[in-house]
Amino acid sequence: MKSKIDLLILISGWISVAIIVAITFFLFYNWFPLFKTTNPIEFFFGTLWYPTAVPPFYGILPLLDATLWISTLAILITFPSAFVLAVFMTHVVPKRMQYILKVFLEIFSSMPSVILGLIGLSIVAPYFQNTLNMDTGQNILNAALMLSLITIPMPTSMMEDFINAFPPEQKEGAEALGANKFETLTKVILPGLKGPFASIAMLSLGRIFGETMIVLMVAGNAAIFPTSIFQPARVLSATIASEMGETPVDTPHFYALFGIGAVLFILTFLINVVGEIVRIKYERQMMKE
C-alpha cells in the first residue's frame, strides 16, 4: 500500500516538473520565429513599440524601462512599510492585538488585485488629477502605490514570523546585558535576520514584477521612457494582457508577445535565483559564527 502512495507522489511530482518544462519550452518555441522577420537587437533595444503599425516596431526597451521604474518605486514603498508594520506588530501592540492584525493582513493579502486597480482608477487617479493638478492620475506613482498595497501583507507576515521565531536565548542574552527593547531589535535581531529579510525583499519584488491587473488598469500604458513618477508607463505584463486577446495567431506580433513573456520569465527567474543565493550565503555565514 505504502509503495503505491509513493508511486503516486512520484508520478505527480514528475508530471508537474514536466508541465513546467513544457511551458518554458512553449514560451521560447513561440518566441524564436519572431527573429525570422525582426532583428534581435531591434527587439531588445528598439525604442518603439508599435506592433500593428505599417511597418511594425517591436522594441521592448520602453516596456523594460517602465517595469524597472514601477517595480523599483513599489519595492521602495513596500519594504520599509512592511518592516515598520512588522516591528509595530511584534514590539508595540499587545499579543492579542497582534493576532487580530495578523488575521487582517492575511485577509488583505488574498484580496483580488482587480479591486485595488479599481480603487486606483476611481479614487486615487481623480484625486491626482483634480487636487494635485497632474496631467493624468494614471501614472507610475499611482501604480506603485496600488502595487505596494497589495504586496505589503506578504512580506509583513513573513518578517513578523521571523522576528517572533528569533532564538530567545540571544534576545534574552541581550536583555540580560542591559539592552532595552529597541537596542535588542536594532543590534541583535536585525543583524541576525539580514539573510531572511533579503530573500523576503526578493520574493516581494518577484510578486511586483508579475502583477498584471493593477498596472494594466492604473499605469496608463503609454510606451514611453518616463522621466518622472508622474508620467504614465507601460510594463511588460500589461502589454501581453491588453494585446494577446485579439492578436492573430502565428504573426510576428503574436511571437513578440510570447517574447515579452519569455523575457518576463527570465527576469523573474533571475530575481528568485538571486534571492535564493543571498539567503544561502547568509545562512552559511550564520552557521560559521
Partner: protein, 273 residues
C-alpha cells in the same frame, strides 16, 4: 442494475440531443461580438435545436478559423485582405461577406472643455503629438492628454485608418482597454481627449462629443458613408450561406435582428422602429 439503467438513459438522451442539434460556430472580431452574442441568444430561443457558439478573438483569427474550416461564420470589423481572399480561393471556396451593421466612432472631450469642433487634420496632429496644448485649437491654455485604445482593438483600427492615415499615435498616449474605460478616463480628466463607439456617447454626462469639421456622428451619416469615422461590420461565410447558417444570417438581417443591433449600440443597416 439501477445504475446501469440510469447511465443508459443519460447516454440515450445525450445521443439523441447530439443527433438533433445543428451546431454553428462563430469566431472573430470583438467589436462584432455583442451583436453575434445577442443574435445567437435570440435565435436559439426561437430554435431550440440549434446550438450556436460565439468566440471573440479578433477579426484576423476569425477569418483564419473560417478559412481553416473551424468556424462557420467569421465576424470581421474589416474587409478581407488580399492574402486572405487568395488563400480562400486556393482552398476551393469563395468567401461571402454580409454587412450586418455599421459602426461609427466619435472623438470626445471632457464636458468642461469648451472645444466642440476639430478637423481630421487637427485630430491627427493632436494624436501624433504635434499639437500639445488646447490653446492651439481654440481652447483654454492647458496641456492635452491623449487617450487611445490598445492597438489590437477594432476601434483603434478605424482610428488608425481614418484619422492617423499612416501616422503613429504618440508613445505618451494613455492606452486603455475598452470603450467604457475611455469614457471613465475622459469624464475624470478635463485635459483629456479620446474616441468611443457611437453607443457610448450618452454613457456619461461628463463627456462631450467633438464634431469633425462641423459634422457630428449620427446614424444616417454613418449609413450613407458621409461621416468620416464610420465603417461596415461583416459576417463572412464559406461560399453563399445555406441551411441553418443562412437562416441565422437572415434572422440577423430581419427587423428583429436589426433592432438588436441598435440595442447594443451599433447602427442598423436600415431604419428600424
Amino acid at each position: 442494475m439501477k445504475k446501469v439503467f440510469f447511465v443508459l438513459l443519460v447516454l440515450s438522451v445525450l445521443s439523441f440531443s447530439v443527433f438533433a442539434t445543428t451546431n454553428i460556430v462563430i469566431v472573430g472580431s470583438t467589436t462584432v461580438l455583442p451583436i453575434a452574442q445577442q443574435w445567437a441568444q435570440a435565435y436559439m430561443k426561437l430554435n431550440p435545436n440549434v446550438n450556436i457558439s460565439v468566440v471573440g478573438n479578433g477579426s484576423g483569427n476569425g477569418i483564419k478559423a473560417l478559412l481553416d474550416g473551424v468556424a462557420d461564420i467569421a465576424d470581421s470589423s474589416r474587409w478581407m485582405s488580399d492574402s486572405e481572399i487568395k488563400y480562400a480561393i486556393s482552398k476551393g471556396f469563395f468567401p461571402f461577406p454580409v454587412v450586418v451593421s455599421y459602426d461609427a466612432i466619435a472623438p470626445v472631450v471632457n464636458a468642461n472643455n469648451p472645444v466642440r469642433n476639430l478637423s481630421l487634420d487637427q485630430l491627427k496632429q493632436i494624436y501624433e503629438g504635434k499639437i500639445t496644448n488646447w490653446s492651439q485649437v481654440g481652447g483654454p491654455d492647458m496641456s492635452i492628454v491623449v487617450v487611445t485604445r490598445d492597438n489590437s482593438s477594432g476601434t483603434f483600427e478605424v482610428w488608425a485608418e481614418k484619422v492617423m492615415r499612416g501616422g503613429l499615435v504618440k508613445p505618451g498616449a494613455l492606452t486603455v482597454a475598452s470603450n467604457a474605460e475611455v469614457v471613465r478616463a475622459i469624464a475624470g480628466n478635463k485635459k483629456a481627449i479620446g474616441y468611443v463607439g457611437l453607443g457610448y456617447l450618452e454613457s456619461s454626462p461628463n463627456i462631450s462629443e467633438v464634431a469633425i469639421s462641423g459634422m457630428k456622428a449620427d446614424i444616417k451619416a454613418a449609413r450613407s458613408g458621409s461621416y468620416p469615422l464610420a465603417r461596415a461590420l461583416f459576417m463572412i461565410t464559406r461560399g453563399i450561406p445555406s441551411g441553418e447558417v443562412a437562416q441565422f444570417v437572415n434572422f440577423g438581417l430581419s427587423p428583429v435582428g436589426q433592432k438588436i443591433v441598435s440595442e447594443v449600440g451599433f447602427v442598423p443597416i436600415y431604419e428600424v422602429k
